[in-house]
């Protein structure tokens, strides 16, 4: 709102006209799940009208790079890229490489489905120099490939797919082009309605391509901002509890036929060129932090003892394993899958399939009370007496009752001091893990079994303090920062990390947060916000990496190192000092001049990055309009229909939804067929500012409940009239998974869209409710099925199909299929589902 008051034009694209729409200059209604078509249209517009930022695109992106001649586009192959195997529904990406590029060395290991953070480094991509055509005319250069790929995404096509009228499309196109370039920038913000799709990663990629063409990355006022919904959701993937990642986006080791050594791991994850050439330093320092003195060069620093992944071990396959009886127990800390994950009935069935469950939360949440309050219990389909699961519900400390740090959505880490003691037996997760691990380590003390080596040799130096015997989070942060093994002194940053075992570091990208023995996340000096560049506030908290507030900020200067304009000045080359300088910490080797050129043979390490190549994490120093590696569902975003859609794919009638998406075809996870007349409406879920996720932190608060007291569904008046639904009355929403009831909000803010000559109605459901708490209501997630994006395994929650009718559901039952006796679900007891039934799992040679 403040940006708008200063003259920025705010455009809101959303199926719903919500409060954001009301506070914008233009609201563009769109059919849920069709964003790539809209962006494809904008990319086409920018290319066809030659309104891209030519100097930026030519120097800072791979627009001029020439791609392998084996590459074939979706436009050539009717909706799939070259390398597609319809049997496994996976891609062999080798034909997407740059001309002359080596096939990624890790290709033979391509067998688990979520590895977006791996191999995006350009590992083994090229030996020699990168082939380019600086005139951008070569038919196989990236810019020409883009032109052809998006040629059919005309305004008329955008209108047919998205339901966005052409005039509104032109208005968006006009606004973003007018507000990009040397003098102005455009930012894309999304409130995670963009990611939970089977093409979620490609939706963000589509936004990134547009932003790169317009020169809006690495510059102030540009970028792509995720308005994420959790206090440290960024931190949770930086220091991940995600199955395929170790801290700092190092990948989990993957099993293979031969013994996997540290050297193998480094060669598969590191890169010859660019910043990832430092990979070995980061992994060795991590192993030193975990195994201390026991980690030596002779034993590969204990690397061989790390567990190996073999397929997809993400949340959904794990829950499917539990349904099928393959999981003994689970820790759920501050999470609520019983109502927070799609296909809630299936999730609760998984909980019933476990022997034990530990839930840690502030209050009773649905995941802890599923055996008592769940819809299938209320309906009598399941009796509590028949639920075997042993449940521990542990009281947790809140954010003011413990010290620790959150990383907000722009990578800024902010420390919280402890303000008061937790009540009764409530404790932090830090306390829980410390005291649990103490017991486990005592149990294994003295064991010589190799499988127990990591426990016996675990470096666990934390000293409990105070009446609750709480370990100090500050000590943990020091370990995350890293230290000199000999002296124990914190290292000043990741530049000082070594691969010889002389340094230890828990998460290399956070290294520097404790530089000089000071907790920089605790800094609280905003500086002078009105001073020139003062709004960067470098002394408030600490941003990874190296306290940089804008990544790739070398791109805020032109190839010669001068600001693109005075107005958008941010980081620039100071020729007198021979250094990069500016308002932020330069994201570039500070003394590498703009005129530096990589050696003729391409060079090694950071030497391979020229002085005018800002994207140092990529092997070629350029931002990738076209992704030659790293993605599992294509090098370019392409419009695919959602898995559930009332419409076929008008661009690729043979294909429909993302051909590499992950599906779990099980009787307890049925999918609404495309075009099935029983499910004529589009279903989308959303959040309210008054509530939080499925309500664990909000539906126990009377002050919030009174603001949004009941589960509801928003529908347009035309649909309401057709179904006899009254504003404020009850309605039932149904899918193949079941039915829920909600109060109807009938409003002109919801608009029917005209798509491909047909009128389509959208039904919008908040997903904050569940069966436990002060305010209860049916859970929107009970209506959803489980399918996922192949790159990161994110679920599908924003674009499905459904129907609505007036009235209330007949019984408390919400699920049609998920509570039948276990035998109904086809189960391979020998091989409980480790991976999905289709998609990229176990697809390796």
């Amino acid at each position: 709102m403040r940006a708008r008051e200063r003259g920025a034009k705010v455009i809101h694209v959303d199926p719903r006209f919500g409060r954001t729409g009301a506070s914008s200059d233009l609201h563009v209604p769109i059919r849920a799940g069709t964003d790539i078509a809209l962006f494809g249209g904008l990319i086409r517009h920018v290319l066809e009208t030659e309104s891209y930022f030519k100097e930026y695109v030519l120097h800072y992106t791979n627009a001029s790079t020439i791609v392998n001649e084996r590459y074939a586009d979706t436009e050539d192959l009717g909706g799939v890229f070259s390398g597609y195997d319809p049997g496994t529904r996976t891609y062999d990406p080798s034909s997407w490489m740059y001309e002359g590029g080596e096939v990624a060395s890790a290709a033979g290991e391509r067998e688990h489905s979520t590895q977006a953070f791996d191999e995006n480094t350009g590992a083994g991509m090229l030996e020699g120099p990168v082939p380019r055509d600086e005139t951008l005319q070569h038919p196989r250069c990236v810019l020409q490939i883009l032109r052809r790929h998006y040629a059919r995404y005309t305004p008329e096509m955008v209108s047919r797919i998205c339901g966005v009228p052409e005039a509104l499309f032109h208005e968006i196109a006009r606004a973003i082009v007018a507000n990009s370039g040397r003098e102005r920038t455009t930012a894309l913000c999304y409130a995670v309605g963009w990611t939970p799709h089977t093409a979620g990663v490609q939706m963000i990629r589509a936004g990134a391509i547009l932003q790169l063409l317009l020169g809006n990355i690495g510059r102030p006022g540009g970028g792509i901002m995720a308005m994420r919904g959790h206090a440290t959701i960024q931190g949770s993937s930086d220091i991940p509890t995600l199955y395929e990642l170790l801290p700092g986006y190092l990948h989990m080791p993957r099993a293979r036929e031969e013994e996997l050594t540290l050297a193998d791991y480094i060669s598969s994850g590191g890169a010859d060129r660019g910043w990832w050439s430092n990979f070995d330093k980061y992994v060795v320092s991590l192993l030193k932090a975990w195994f201390g003195d026991a980690a030596t060069p002779d034993n590969d620093f204990g690397f061989g003892h790390l567990p190996k992944i073999t397929g997809n071990h993400a949340h959904f396959p794990t829950m499917m394993r539990a349904v099928d009886g393959g999981l003994d127990g689970m820790f759920v800390m501050g999470q609520n899958p019983a109502v927070g994950s799609p296909n809630g009935g299936l999730m609760r069935r998984a909980l019933r399939g476990m022997r034990w469950l530990v839930v840690r939360d502030f209050k009773e949440v649905e995941t802890a009370t599923f055996w008592r309050d769940a819809p299938e219990i209320r309906s009598g389909e399941v009796r509590p007496e028949d639920v075997e699961t042993e449940v521990f519900l542990m009281p947790a400390a809140t954010h003011v009752e413990k010290e620790g740090s959150f990383t907000q959505t722009q990578r800024m880490v902010q420390w919280r001091d402890r303000a008061l003691a937790p009540p009764g037996d409530a404790r932090s997760e830090l306390w829980f893990m410390h005291h649990l691990m103490h017991r486990v380590m005592a149990r294994y003390a003295g064991s010589t079994d190799p499988k127990d080596w990591p426990i016996v040799n675990l470096h666990w130096p934390y000293t409990p303090q105070g009446p609750e015997c709480e370990p100090l989070a500050d000590d943990v942060l020091r370990e995350i920062n890293g230290y000199d093994v000999a002296t124990g002194e914190p290292v000043p940053g990741f530049d000082e990390l070594r691969a010889d075992g002389s340094t230890a570091c828990g998460c290399w990208i956070y290294s520097g947060i404790y530089a000089g023995g000071e907790n920089h996340a605790r800094r609280r000096d905003p500086g002078d916000l009105d001073a020139e560049g003062g709004w960067v506030s470098p002394d408030w908290g600490w941003a990874w990496p190296a306290n940089r507030r804008i990544l790739y900020n070398r791109a805020s200067a032109d190839p010669q190192g001068r600001p693109w304009s005075e107005r958008k000045k941010y980081v620039w080359w100071d020729a007198e000092q021979g250094r990069w300088t500016g308002y932020d910490v330069p994201d570039f080797p500070v003394d590498k001049p703009p005129g530096y050129r990589a050696p003729e043979d391409g060079g090694k390490g950071m030497d391979a990055i020229s002085g005018d190549e800002p994207f140092i994490m990529m092997g070629d120093g350029r931002a990738w309009l076209f992704s030659p590696s790293g993605l599992l569902d294509g090098p370019l975003p392409t419009h695919y229909e959602p898995v559930e859609s009332p419409f076929g794919n008008v661009l690729y009638p043979q294909i429909g939804s993302n051909p590499a998406a992950i599906h779990w075809d099980r009787p307890d996870n049925p999918v609404n067929a495309t075009g099935d007349p029983r499910w004529p409406c589009v279903l989308t879920t959303f959040r309210l500012t008054e509530h939080h996720t499925p309500g664990g932190m909000s539906r126990g608060l009377p002050w919030l409940n009174e603001l949004q007291p009941e589960m509801f569904a928003e529908i347009d008046p035309e649909l309401a009239a057709a179904r006899g639904i009254e504003d404020g009355g009850w309605l039932v929403v149904s899918t193949e998974r079941g039915e829920i009831e909600a109060r109807a909000i009938v409003t002109d803010r919801m608009r029917p869209l005209r798509v491909g000559g047909r009128v389509v109605h959208q039904v919008a459901l908040p997903w904050h409710w569940g069966y436990t708490g002060l305010s209860t209501g049916d859970s929107a997630n009970d209506l959803l099925h489980v399918s996922a994006d192949p790159n990161v395994n994110i679920e599908t929650t924003k674009a499905l199909t459904c129907d609505v009718r007036a009235g209330r559901r007949p019984s408390p039952a919400t699920s049609r299929v998920t509570h039948a006796p276990r035998g109904r679900a086809a189960v391979d007891r020998e091989h409980p589902a480790e991976g999905p039934t289709s998609g990229s799992s176990e697809a390796g040679p």
């Binding site: 409060r19 009228p165 052409e166 500012t689 002050w703 409940n705 007291p709 002109d748």
Partner: protein
Amino acid sequence: MTTRAAPGEISVRRDGAERMGFFTDTSVCIGYKACEVACKQWNDLPSDGGELRPGGSYDHTGALGAATWRHVRFVEMVEPRPLPLDDIAPVDVAAAVADMDRWIFMSDVCKHCTNAGCMDACPTGALIRTEFETVVLQADVCNGCGYCIPACPFGVVDRDPVDGRAAKCTLCYDRLRDGMEPACAKACPTDSIQFGVYEDLVEVAQRRVAALQDRGVQGAYLYGAGDGDDDQLAGGLGAFFLLTEPPERFGLPAHADSPIQENVVPATLAAVAAGLAAAAGVAAAFRIARPARGVGRLTLLAAAAGAAEIAGDVMHRRRR
């Protein structure tokens, strides 16, 4: 500075205190409701709702009340637009852009009137005018008679169902005493609620109206400020609003005079009061530090509660 307290009013004052108020600018309200919660949090007010209100848009609180001293009203004025006949029919972009301001939010609050009907009606002196010229209801004095409730032309004052006393916004009198900004204004992320010295706020608001009109928002006007002494709205509102629609859209009256002010009685009472003022000087001698100033006004001085003067820089601090 002299107080504007009307004859017959009971008030406290401190040297250096100025009239403080709220300027609520609906043109930047995003319907966040942070103000509602921040108010309840600071004043420890209970939740007093729990049901979806059909037709209420996203407003399930409904109205100001004894436990709701800030209330965000949602006005949906989105017009149904016919679907284009075919996919490529032209769409009126200007109309689409104009649609953007068709869901309007307004954070309502006690108006802290210059001529406060509730004060006129209060028989116990529970309602007083403070040194900030805000109108505060002293719960420990209120006897629950409820006379103030119909006397408020805005329907602000309400009776607490539990203890029977009247209750309403204090403009965070307790926070003001310590130089803190009221909780609602502090929480507001867009500065739709601005707090400050009344005269300054009026100036800011007038500039804002002009700016909006320059931008083509012809309907922007101030409700309850800037009309001069003969203001039809209770002599002017200490908490006034910038609106872009007729007041009735927000449940606000176009005119607001206290029923009692139209009576001759208050004038008589005022005269009596003025006469008593002299006596008060004597009678109050045992407990009041300084004599009242101001002719014809009954000005009662607060015992200098809290040694600290309200530091101007804290009080007038703007967040940005």
